[in-house]
Subunit: 212 residues, 4 copies
Amino acid sequence: MTPTKSPVPLDNQLPQLGRKRDHSRDPEILAVALDILAETGYDGMTMDMVACRAKAGKGTLYRRWSSKDELLIDAVAFMKKDDLDLTKLSDTGTLRGDLVAMIKVGPTGEGEKKLKVMAGLMSMLSRRPELADAVNAAVVGPRVEAHLVLLQRAVERGEISASCDLRLLSLVLPSMAAYRVLVLRTSVDRTFLISLIDNVLMPAVGIPSAPR
Amino acid sequence: MTPTKSPVPLDNQLPQLGRKRDHSRDPEILAVALDILAETGYDGMTMDMVACRAKAGKGTLYRRWSSKDELLIDAVAFMKKDDLDLTKLSDTGTLRGDLVAMIKVGPTGEGEKKLKVMAGLMSMLSRRPELADAVNAAVVGPRVEAHLVLLQRAVERGEISASCDLRLLSLVLPSMAAYRVLVLRTSVDRTFLISLIDNVLMPAVGIPSAPR
Amino acid sequence: MTPTKSPVPLDNQLPQLGRKRDHSRDPEILAVALDILAETGYDGMTMDMVACRAKAGKGTLYRRWSSKDELLIDAVAFMKKDDLDLTKLSDTGTLRGDLVAMIKVGPTGEGEKKLKVMAGLMSMLSRRPELADAVNAAVVGPRVEAHLVLLQRAVERGEISASCDLRLLSLVLPSMAAYRVLVLRTSVDRTFLISLIDNVLMPAVGIPSAPR
Amino acid sequence: MTPTKSPVPLDNQLPQLGRKRDHSRDPEILAVALDILAETGYDGMTMDMVACRAKAGKGTLYRRWSSKDELLIDAVAFMKKDDLDLTKLSDTGTLRGDLVAMIKVGPTGEGEKKLKVMAGLMSMLSRRPELADAVNAAVVGPRVEAHLVLLQRAVERGEISASCDLRLLSLVLPSMAAYRVLVLRTSVDRTFLISLIDNVLMPAVGIPSAPR
DNA sequence: CGATAAACGAGACGGTACGTCGCGTCTTCTG
DNA sequence: CAGAAGACGCGACGTACCGTCTCGTTTATCG
């Protein structure tokens, strides 16, 4: 998952002979990989393509990632970095308001590319468990976490009962959206998400859906 | 999705020259493909393997399916055939009872092989949209349909409000289970499903979860 | 070499049920085979091509010839039919005159196609001994025989010594021409043949080459 | 003299990037190809066989030779290397003696394998003109050259007339032997060659054959 | 004259070699 | 010595051809 270490990672500070590995190029390589992944999918992306477009040698790729899959796992993790910020979730005063507010930063707002990467990666979710983890950590997980925060806030606010299974409820929207994208390949638009909030989530937490 | 058609599939009845394709062998070939898929996964399965074990020539395979992927798409669709029977869903008198009764015939009860096939196929969901459709039609879709039947039954029974978005609600369990299997790779056991029923679905349709 | 016999070629006259084989089409098929052979060579010619262009089914071909090679052996033998006529060799009064007179009906005059067929068949001379025989019988052999006739006439005429090895000498021109065509792929033109006659054959039979 | 290192490689002098092809393995591969060719003939030899026995990948073979035929063309050319040495032709004092002396190093003495290769290759002579050239260069041509040397020696010696067409005469034995091997498939034994020398070649150069 | 059995055109079939391409490794040369 | 370039061993892919088999149809002979 992390770049392969130098063959001799000694703790005592040796003078570090020879040229140092140029890790500044890692992000560039990962970005190239994500681009190609979004364009062509898992199989369409070849290591030669990545090497060529990143002006790198295949040896360099394999020195840092032991396989194509490892490279992608890292690439997906890399994609995560500019994502939701849990500390900046808007607080509208109501659970529904908070959930609706999050939609802007949801998949739709986030950008087409991330979804295409997701789609391109579905190929591998089962073959490479770590890759599924990476996808989860990069794409779905953060939304689950955000929803959990919003739900906890609602409990604290007294808006919903503390007996609700928040962990489970926080999974509802993200997983249904994922299913829609991955299996049904339908776009996850604002309408669908609002419908989910009003017809599934809000009733499930015991708040009668007002504006039907 | 369907076997490749004859080069000129005219509507006016041509005399059907030449030897006919022996479509009676299709199921056998697809079964072999599913077996190997379950055993070795997508990459491990080769067309030569399928041809050899099915006592067929590669030419025959490629005459019927234009690629390995097309073959698998059909194989998954073929897997669907011995699945849930919508006409035989048990009727326990309550929605919750019906839902719980369906669990036995859920993925867990259905059999190890179908899950392995699913896992072996995840590799392909995005590369081949038709494959995603096939997976949906074979595995998730039937359960969605079954849930829809149960929900409609509950509406007729007066158990839940007619204003509920049944279409959406019928997606909840299957899609959350799929997410759990595909992305989280957690087993979808009875406990999880019952928890979903009691903490998400029943509240969402307005039935207070009784046995907490 | 000959078409495959009926599966039950009994001597006792059975009633001969069913439709008879239509051997009137054999020449047409063989001609098509020769055409394709001349156009594309041995490998380029496929049985499907022959069947298609001859408006025949592959079954019909294989009912008559047990393999592609057998078909070609017959085709070459068929090519032989309009060739040299040993009874009509012109008699000019001298061996040299007779030999030169034969050139007109030699490979050059015979036609481009026969040479191309020869070339197309070289592929097979060693793989299929019968084919080499057929080639010899159809193309080279007749010329050897014709030369032998001319040489014997010269002996009778008292032009050359009876102690000459006529069998061997009759091989000289045909085999050197064959080598030129098959291995060197040089055209066998009148000049070359006359040169052979004057510089090799005539001296070899003891007639000093007059017009040098 | 210090080699000047130009940072900008000239167009005509590319810096030769990447790993170089290991041409030291070419002979090994060609030898393997010849072995299999001698064992199984053209059709029996497969590229996978060659790759496997030479411990090479098919990609390597096709990187160096664009097809099976190209590989064989090179293989035959490679076979040529340990053949007749024109500088070591024995000088017996007479043309007949020289010619007879050469027989030992003729095809018979040369070895079984070369003949088998020739036989295995006949399949290809016309399909691949270059192959015919290679065969000529490797097998027949050297003998033609050797005969030319012997004939020239005889001219210098005053044994035969300078007006003889040496080029043509040097073709006689090799081409008649080739015809015998390729088309008639008769062995080219010492008896036949001596007969040719005494009954065709010697008379043709104006030397009465002494021992009839 | 109708039944029957083989031959026919068309083309699917099992099998097998071909030539291509991708992965992950190894080698060569440059900075 | 790291890195770019690319050859290498391996093995699956999809194509094409051979010789066989199966359709439905046509045609010659027999009852």
